[in-house]
Subunit: 282 residues, 2 copies
């Protein structure tokens, strides 16, 4: 994208009528998009899915930081008023770094999800399931212990959950068997609250609930983030006032058609515009 | 990499003593590396694993072509005398494109594997298992039918095999169940030869053989490619004559440590040098 395009962007930076920028490594962040759309139905939304480089969850911290910077730079170039990192891995590894690089308000999914989990737990034992990179970062533990010390937190990486969700095996015997194996330790622990610490996991929630039982409270970070961004915009006087219809734009780094197919199933409606873009300098 | 580094590269282009360049989306191409090393033990080898962007098998043709071009450009810059595309997906989608862009001899894995399968089959029914992108490209069908018309070819994408292999679940009940499901149709067909059309799959060969039975001939493209590159170098007078010890260099686009760990297990020996590099313009 050249600078003239940026200048001609239809939104002015930090204008309440500017859109919110949301990015994820792929389609999983649409769970966050949908929650924000439901919570703030008048806001214009820009979504970027870095589908050419998904999955982030198996990459090194340095690579995740670089990819997140390129995604944030792109959504900023679309003139957004705030950025939502709708990806647990990028939130865990790059949120602080991005806050140091941009003047825009930036919300990740870790802190809002952590706050909600700490509110929900009765016995102080919280479980977190997430990608290898998110678990390895210790970001949920740090965020939750900063809110309340003395919590007992058990984390488990579930690397096959994303490929199983993308294969569409949502209620398949294999997925149930993988869930049995990944969740065995959590099930036999005293955990009363489980954080679905990857935006793909809400799609597998029925199998996860079946395996863990119904005495557990589940935290889906999408809803927590929607509340967070609403609060943040209100505090800064950035709630959209324009009575014109809101705008929504979808950008991906790989095939627009493939994304459109999955995203339309996901959101339950047709998408007007999905554009493929190139990112960064890698 | 800047041009001075290229100039200072220790190898001269098209010199028989120059190394062979091998690239893959990740660690899977080491099955090809090992086969070439065994077939041509005096050759210097440069290996590039594009681990920051693995897996290629779920990406669009345009993205795969771009990634393959960036990988080939990098190994060329190391002064290689020939390039081996040790990735079925990149071979299927980008081999012809790369041949049009470089003057070096370039070998993919599809044609050698296809030739071997056609030699092995007794009844003319051949099975191919591969990534979604490789199956979608029809490259194996085209290559085999060009060698012998009238073959009956059954292809099946097995998207979970790569994440299962990377999870290390090589002989796990879940992997057996996934294999049962993916291979059901092939098992009940008249296929007498099965192409393992992804360089990760030889790692799962015990489970695949257990599921398909021992009346099937298996084609591992690594060995086929090693024969192909040996023939190609002989024909062009490019077999290494230097009596100094051969050189080997490993490059990756994500964490060198993670690659080193898996690669050492894979090759059964320590690696001298693994270097992280940045590729291309995305």
């Amino acid at each position: 994208m050249d600078t003239s395009e940026i200048r001609n962007s239809k939104f002015k930076i930090r204008n309440p009528d500017s859109p919110i920028g949301i990015f994820d490594s792929g389609v999983g962040g649409l769970t966050v998009f949908r929650a924000i759309e439901q919570r703030l139905p008048n806001e214009s939304l820009i979504y970027l899915g870095d589908t050419a480089r998904i999955p982030y969850g198996v990459r090194s911290p340095a690579t995740i930081e670089r990819y997140a910077l390129e995604c944030a730079t792109f959504v900023q170039s679309r003139g957004v008023k705030a950025i939502v990192i709708a990806c647990n891995t990028a939130s865990a590894l790059a949120a602080n770094y991005l806050r140091s690089q941009f003047e825009l308000p930036i919300t990740g999914v870790i802190r809002p999800g952590s706050r909600r989990a700490v509110e929900k737990t009765r016995n102080g034992h919280i479980g977190v399931i997430a990608t290898e990179a998110t678990v390895g970062s210790g970001a949920y533990e740090r965020a939750m212990l900063a809110i309340r010390s003395g919590l007992e937190i058990t984390s488990r990486a579930c690397p096959l959950f994303v490929p199983l969700a993308e294969e569409g095996w949502l209620n398949h015997p294999v997925t149930r068997q993988v869930a049995e194996e990944y969740l065995a330790e959590l099930r036999s622990s005293r955990v009363d609250t489980l954080v679905l610490g990857c935006t793909h996991y809400p799609i597998l929630r029925p199998v996860i609930e079946q395996t863990m039982g119904d005495h557990i409270s589940y935290v889906d970070s999408g809803e927590a983030v929607a509340d967070e961004i609403a609060k943040l915009l209100e505090e800064r006087g950035l709630i959209r006032r324009d009575e014109q219809p809101r705008v929504e734009e979808f950008y991906v780094t790989d095939s627009a058609e493939r994304f459109r197919r999955v995203a339309e199933l996901f959101l339950g409606r047709p998408l007007e515009s999905v554009v493929t873009v190139k990112l960064g300098t890698v």
